[in-house]
């Protein structure tokens, strides 16, 4: 199990078999897979949901011009949401590691407390960082609140850092040396992009334009909310969030502005969350009507019988 591509294929296959919708990445810049509407909005309300997807995640300030072997301004996350969180979720997760070729009987796997909080999304959760032989390979979170709303049904979020995991499995000394696919190194695919994104985010981005854009997207988000359309409102909110990150990386956000800008993004995210729950309610929570989805508890009890005793391998 050496290439990034294999990892994506095997994880996709594994989680598809667990009933996940294999979603595609959001076609907007986001800082994490959590911001994809199929996570941030779907975890709200009572509707059951299972989804898995790869999300390119941009953290402009983490860019290192392609020079640092361990840091990227844009990395890939493999994101899984299981809602409601099934009783055997940890066991499923362990089996997903076996699916990518790890024989866990030879390794040291530990779940260490690591709670997650995203103030700009009004969201927090409780969970662990999963340590494999001393390496953090996964963030595992039970969502408790999102968009400022208490969640009636709890989602489990599993986020694999794909580059790191590949790097670890192949014991590479640099992200850029891992194989995307055999014969084509990650660096060949992405190094130039890392360099150019760093140049742009740190040196070139036009601050005045970023500020105007932030305000423009904020207005658009508000207009959409007034018109009662949630997803475009949320997409414009994500635009604001990304623009804020770029301004921050550019060193253009002062102490006082910082707090104020984060609050503006947060206010939009919270408004989107409320509007989304309302709009789903108006539709009668369609995913609840799905056959077999009415009683998620039933589903978990069934898996429970087998999980504890038999699911070791």
């Amino acid at each position: 199990m050496q290439t990034l591509q294999d990892l994506i294929l095997r994880l996709s296959e594994f989680w598809a078999r667990e009933g996940c919708v294999l979603q595609q990445p959001l076609d907007l810049e986001v800082g994490a897979g959590t911001m994809h509407p199929d996570t941030f909005l779907r975890v709200l309300g009572p509707e059951p949901w299972r989804v898995a997807y790869v999300q390119p995640s941009r953290r402009p300030a983490d860019g290192r011009y392609g020079d640092n072997p361990f840091r990227l301004g844009k990395h890939l996350q493999f994101q899984v949401i299981l809602k409601p969180s099934p009783h055997n979720i940890q066991n499923l997760y362990v089996r997903s590691l076996e699916a990518i070729g790890l024989n866990l009987a030879d390794h040291d796997l530990r779940f260490e407390e690591d709670n997650w909080e995203a103030p700009t999304l009004g969201a927090w959760g409780v969970g662990w960082q999963v340590m494999l032989d001393g390496m953090e390979i996964t963030q595992f979170t039970y969502f408790q609140q999102a968009g400022g709303l208490e969640l009636p049904v709890i989602s489990a979020e599993i986020t694999y850092g794909l580059e790191r995991l590949t790097m670890f499995l192949s014991q590479s000394r640099s992200i850029y040396e891992i194989d995307w696919v055999e014969g084509i190194a990650y660096g060949l695919v992405r190094k130039q992009e890392e360099y150019e994104l760093s140049r742009y985010y740190f040196e070139l981005a036009d601050v005045a334009f970023l500020q105007q854009s932030f305000e423009g997207h904020e207005r658009e988000a508000q207009r959409c909310l007034e018109a009662g359309i949630v997803l475009p409102a949320y997409e414009n909110t994500l635009k604001c969030s990304h623009l804020f990150n770029v301004m921050d990386a550019r060193g253009a956000v002062s102490v006082t502005e910082r707090v104020a800008l984060m609050k503006r993004v947060r206010d939009l995210a919270i408004a989107c969350a409320r509007a989304y729950v309302e709009s789903r309610e108006k539709l009668g929570f369609p995913l609840l009507q799905r056959k077999g989805a009415a009683d998620p508890a039933q589903e978990t009890t069934e898996t429970r019988e087998t999980s504890e005793v038999a699911d070791a391998r």
Partner: protein, 704 residues
């Protein structure tokens, strides 16, 4: 042994910091509830692993003892009809109590005669009691943070997976968040995940032991520490002392295995503090100090825990070594970048770091600190140290902008000190920066040098005044800015550094330096800050052996200059046992009583003194007043108090022979004025009336 109860709750991994308090609360509450029912166990054992909470009781009685309870019924006058026949009230009461009407007795109370029934209450079986209390106590454990899962189950610390609950081999049934208690347990989730049944404590212990699972944290601690120490010794070194890290390792494994790894010698060029912090913070690993020299040099190896007994294929080791190499390469990168940039360049970035939203940036803070450090030196008359203290104060927060501190916040201060040293700053300056967070704990020492003490004091006072100035005073357990620790630091630095300094004037200066940022006036801030500091002062002085009343007495006469306060408390402690001093205390209490309603500062007219006892008192007092003042000015409070104690015989005579409340108002007022003057001098060291006198002790010592 009979009367044995086994409780094992298996869940997903509980955070390390919550395990010990959680299991302690469980055991305490179960024990208390059993005791209150006469079911106290003879032995209580607890244990935990990240996935298990364990409570084992032995010698629990089998059932509660039967008891009788008197139940009051209707008054006798309502119990019988005119013809003497029982009324409905009587019959209904008897029925409710389950006794025949003729078994009711009569009880006379204040309100008249009543019927009463003796109800026999059969003691419940212990398993029944356990089935009621254990789930309630488990559900009610006050975890630092709880969660929900699934379709809203919980709240609890983590999802529950299985419960063993056996009393003498029989299942004590109950349910916790959808999981039924039974007799089934399971091993390590990866190495021995199969479920197994047990019929009691012995079988359960055996099963876990065969899977190498150790539920006793003390035993895991012993094994980990012994193994790591002996490995360190074999490697020619000494395991770094880190009790907090050891506790963490104990709480993140159920099989206490030690993992040993090495890193490239080339990384030893990094400062030892950086290596140790990186390994501790990122890998929860111990470093090993070279035994050959006391220079604090590290060996290129580390030791940590793995949740398994061995590592036959070396995967845990090679994985950890790979991660450590990556982490140290990262640290080396930061170290290189920081040294390239230099502290002067980092200082320019401080305006982008918020100290507190309303209090501005760290650039603002640095400027205030430089000013405040200068002001402190001026007050102390420290001319030679001034330049270094001001420079250190300005440099204090610069490392917040370094890559290393952004990565390892715990290196704050230390890193700035290291960089300042490498840039060739004088020792006084780099040490001041390095030591700025000292004392970090009650056992930690204060900054080494005077510049460090001044800078550390300035930093904490600036923070305290700023946050108090916004009205954000810590309450209960909420103290997000660490103000209690800051206050403790202020008190300890002033006390142990012997900084004879008016802290209230320094705080007022700090408030002035904030300009118009603060919401509250300097006076309001001082009024809130004073009691806050007093709490730390009381704590520290009591710890040093002073008693509560000595501290209160001294605090009442001012607390701005802490070494002076300390001198006054100590003096009081030394003289309070002498007989003459005791009599001064009693006299002081009388003086306070007599003068409490009089306007302060009445003028004394010597010519009005008539009685010999009052004349003698006045002349004795005049004779020692200036000496007391001199001693006080020299902070020699013991001499102060001893001279005052010399007044005891004349004071005693005065109270015996002179009536203060004379009929002539002029005479009366004059005597009050005399006592007021004496009172002021008596209180020069401390408000003597606060000293608690044991009456019996006083009687034994006083020559009455």
């Amino acid at each position: 042994m009979r009367g044995e109860y086994l409780l094992e709750v298996r869940s997903e991994e509980i955070p390390a910091r919550m395990l010990e308090p959680g299991v302690r609360e469980l055991a305490t509450r179960v024990f208390e509830e059993l005791m209150s029912r006469g079911l106290g166990p003879s032995e209580v054992e607890t244990g935990f692993t990240p996935r298990r909470l364990v409570l084992i009781l032995a010698g629990v009685p089998e059932r509660e003892t039967d008891r009788e309870e008197q139940v009051m019924g209707p008054p006798v006058r309502a119990a019988y009809a005119a013809d003497g026949a029982p009324t409905q009230a009587l019959l209904g009461f008897a029925k409710r109590c389950g006794v025949a009407p003729e078994e009711l007795s009569r009880v006379t109370t204040d309100k008249g005669e009543y019927l009463a029934a003796v109800k026999k209450i059969e003691g419940r079986a212990t398993s029944e009691v356990l089935a009621e209390i254990v789930p309630r106590i488990l559900a009610g454990i006050s975890w630092a943070k709880t969660m929900r899962w699934g379709s809203g189950e919980g709240p609890w610390v983590r999802p529950v997976h299985g419960i063993v609950s056996l009393f003498d081999g029989q299942v004590v049934p109950f349910e916790l968040h959808g999981i039924r208690a039974g007799d089934e347990s399971a091993g390590h989730p990866i190495l021995s995940p199969e479920a197994f049944r047990v019929d009691g404590v012995a079988a359960w212990r055996r099963e876990l032991a065969s899977r190498k699972i150790e539920v006793r944290p003390d035993e895991r601690r012993r094994i980990l520490l012994d193994t790591m120490q002996s490995r360190a010794q074999e490697l020619g070194g000494r395991l770094m002392d880190d009790p907090a890290l050891l506790e963490k390792l104990v709480a993140i494994c159920e099989i206490p295995g030690v993992m040993e790894g090495r890193f490239d010698d080339a990384f030893l060029e990094l400062p030892a503090e950086v290596l140790a912090t990186s390994l501790r913070d990122h890998q929860s690993a111990f470093t090993v100090e070279s035994a050959s020299n006391g220079s604090g040099k590290l060996l290129p190896c580390f030791l940590t825990v793995m949740d398994r007994a061995d590592d036959p294929k070396g995967r845990a080791r090679s994985g950890n070594e790979w991660v450590v190499a990556a982490r140290l390469a990262d640290a080396r990168f930061f170290y290189g970048e920081d040294r390239k940039a230099g502290l002067a360049h980092r200082a320019e970035q401080l305006h982008r770091l918020t100290f507190q939203e309303k209090l501005g940036s760290y650039a603002d803070k640095s400027e205030r600190l430089a000013q405040l450090a200068g002001a402190i030196c001026d007050r102390l008359g420290w001319k030679d140290e001034r330049e270094h203290a001001v420079a250190a104060a300005r440099l204090l927060k610069v490392d917040l902008a370094t890559e290393m501190v952004k990565e390892f916040t715990s290196l704050q201060g230390i890193m700035g000190g290291i960089y300042a040293r490498e840039e060739g700053q004088p020792e006084a300056i780099w040490q001041a920066v390095y030591d700025q967070y000292m004392p970090a704990s009650t056992d930690d020492r204060i900054p080494r040098g005077r510049a460090g003490q001044v800078a550390g004091l300035a930093d904490r006072i600036d923070t305290l005044v700023g946050i108090f100035g916004l009205g954000l005073i810590p309450t209960g357990s909420k103290d997000p800015f660490g103000l209690r620790r800051a206050a403790q630091g202020v008190v300890r630095i002033a006390l142990e550094g012997g900084l004879a300094l008016d802290l209230e004037a320094v705080a007022a200066e700090a408030a002035r330096l904030y300009g118009d940022r603060l919401k509250r006036s300097p006076q309001q801030i001082l009024d809130d800050l004073r009691p806050f500091l007093h709490d730390r002062i009381r704590f520290l002085l009591e710890r040093a052996g002073s008693t509560y009343d000595e501290i209160e007495a001294a605090l009442a006469m001012g607390s701005a200059d802490l070494p002076d306060l300390r001198a006054r408390v100590d003096a009081l402690h030394r003289v309070r046992e002498s007989a003459d001093f005791l009599s001064v205390v009693l006299a002081a209490k009388r003086i306070a009583n007599i003068t409490k309603d009089a306007a302060a500062g009445q003028p004394l007219d010597e010519s009005l003194l008539a009685e010999p006892a009052e004349k003698d008192l006045w002349s004795a007092f005049k004779g020692l007043r200036s000496e007391v003042e001199e001693a006080a000015a020299a902070h020699d409070y013991e001499r102060c108090l001893r001279r005052i104690a010399d007044l005891a015989p004349v004071l005693d005579r005065f109270f015996v022979e002179v009536l203060v409340m004379a009929e002539d108002p002029k005479v009366r007022q004059n005597r009050i004025a005399l006592l007021q003057a004496i009172g002021r001098t008596v209180n020069r060291t401390a408000r003597i009336t606060e000293v608690v006198v044991d009456k019996a002790e006083a009687r034994a010592k006083l020559p009455l």
